[in-house]
Symmetry: C2
Subunit: 213 residues, 2 copies
């Protein structure tokens, strides 16, 4: 039977850009390179695949992950020199930028890196570059469809804030009018009557929260 692992693609929006959580690998193979946090499946501890991913998150990042979606499985005989056959099940998660992650065992350091221009910092370990691309694509499709993962933006929020987050994920500007109309048409947000956010030298913004909370 093959050597089975779980890899995590953890994304967030910070500094107006989509970022991915990477770790500097301490051990071979690919020691010194940046790679996705991951870990071996433990059939004595994990009840399900997603449970395994959450355990790996606890061990490596110090906490569980919200909005965990399975991305794909990759595997082959030549994938990992530590085993004759290696299989990885990859999960993605979109988290709040304020997520506190604490490096865990066998992780030298955790770093947020903007997904644009990742190639500038040298090659990533294994095929992790392609996995990140796939995760970004799936996440963008989700946000494009206004399918907001619960708990991603802290409530209450304003529509311009939601628009800015969405634009950061998508990597392109969004039209204000179109965005407002599309979001309001979905019916998933409701205005908080009388509550505003007065942030600067401009008109305060209406606060919203997701309906059904």
């Amino acid at each position: 039977m093959p050597f089975v692992r779980t890899e995590l693609v953890v994304l967030c929006v910070a500094q107006g850009e989509l970022q991915v959580l990477l770790s500097r690998r301490a051990e071979e193979p690919h020691a010194g390179k940046l790679g996705l946090p991951g870990g071996v499946l433990r059939i004595d501890e994990d009840a399900t695949l997603e449970g395994a991913a959450q355990r790996v998150a606890r061990e490596r990042l110090g906490r569980e992950l919200p909005n965990l979606h399975q991305l794909c499985a990759v595997g082959g005989a030549e994938r990992d020199p530590r085993a004759p056959w290696a299989l990885s099940v990859v999960y993605r998660s979109l988290v709040q930028p304020e997520l506190a992650v604490t490096p865990g065992k066998r992780v030298q350091a955790l770093e947020w890196r903007a997904v644009g221009g990742l190639a500038d910092h040298g090659p990533l370990a294994f095929d992790h570059g392609e996995l990140i691309d796939k995760a970004v694509e799936a996440t963008r499709a989700q946000i494009e469809a206004l399918d907001y993962p619960p708990g991603w933006v802290q409530e209450p929020f304003t529509l311009p804030e939601l628009q800015a987050f969405s634009a950061a994920v998508l990597g392109r500007e969004l039209d204000k009018v179109t965005f407002r109309r599309r979001v309001e048409a979905t019916g998933q947000v409701e205005a908080l009557q009388g509550e505003m956010r007065s942030g600067g030298a401009h008109r305060p913004a209406q606060l919203y929260r997701f309906a059904g909370c």
Copy 2:
């Protein structure tokens, strides 16, 4: 390490309906029930996950499958009583209705079943019902986007034929004008000058083939 298998969701259009290839299980667990064809990953024979799926297809169905797409991976401690932990990587494929499948080892019989009303024939083995639903959903999204798998329809074909196949996959009628315009706009089909299909008591239809063949 877990027990790793590959399962195949093979779909085709026949009798104007989307059908799935199922096998009557000869052995426990779930003996006698209908289930997806599948097989165990062989790390000594298979170089990749997709290679494993193709080997399973050769052994169980007597041929390789075109348009093979990975659907998901499912796994857990309670998944299969034959092992303490079982993991399945699921693939889907859309094939021509004329595909000849010959039952292989450990498969009593292969049957095409319409995906509508599958529940009427008793429960399926494992979670194969849910896997079929996911495969149908993914296939419908692909056809909805006019992303036709190469070799799915035999060329040459007429646009009404392509429309009928698409409608069968999607499970709903399609507007003739809209369908023609959308297909022609993609530029992936080209008319065969002067070639027509005269099938009945009506005007013959223009024959097409996919561009870039």
